[in-house]
Symmetry: C2
Subunit: 125 residues, 2 copies
């Protein structure tokens, strides 16, 4: 029976969140065993924030939740790819559709930011 | 100027390798600053193996190298997505096209292995 390996990263695994239709990688965050189980049980994506040291559900503040369509793990069971339907206009807290809007071009990182919502409106301080 | 944050994971960042045409996530591995620079300079994917504690180029043994087409980082610059042309039949050392051939189905992980080469042939002991 396959069991996920959380040990390699001290209890966490990377979770690659992919748009189930376009294949675009929307974000990469981290899960522990509890948040992976919450994701599998609720059908919404839950993560462990390394910086805020807390559990969080994607969209708990913004409403931009993610509906789980498919969950895959890899050959050494230490990473997951989760295909989701992204609710709302964007996945990234900056308002960008995907968090991966910075591209390596001619020897430097170039931002291609195109926010689809105003973070100041969505994330009230 | 954007600089990648290797500190969060003690010198490493996750690298999500995606087929540049199909969008399929082929594998997730880890890079340090040196292997990211090698990847950007050589146009082939280089990683740091946490288990073997060494640098490796994808395909150095199998010949299944990966040609870098596009490199993206995210809003907090601590992860990269690299779109590649996969040379040879498969990315995974098991012979599967993608390492993500295990799917969560009805409460358990189910293997959907379909090797496109024989690892015993390709990886001589």
């Amino acid at each position: 029976m396959i069991k996920l390996d959380f040990e390699k990263m001290g209890g966490l695994i990377p979770a690659v969140i992919q748009d189930h239709e376009s294949g675009e990688v929307l974000m990469v965050a981290f899960m522990d065993e509890k948040t992976l189980n919450l994701t599998l049980e609720t059908g919404k994506t839950w993560f462990f924030s390394r910086t805020r040291n807390k559990y969080w559900m994607k969209g708990e503040e913004s409403g931009n939740t993610q509906e789980v369509k498919e969950v895959l793990t890899d050959c050494d069971a230490d990473t997951v790819v989760i295909k989701v339907k992204q609710n709302g206009p964007a996945a990234c807290h900056t308002g960008n559709r995907s968090c991966f809007y910075v591209k390596w071009e001619n020897g430097e990182w170039v931002e291609h930011s195109n926010p689809l919502f105003d973070p100041n409106e969505v994330y009230k301080k």
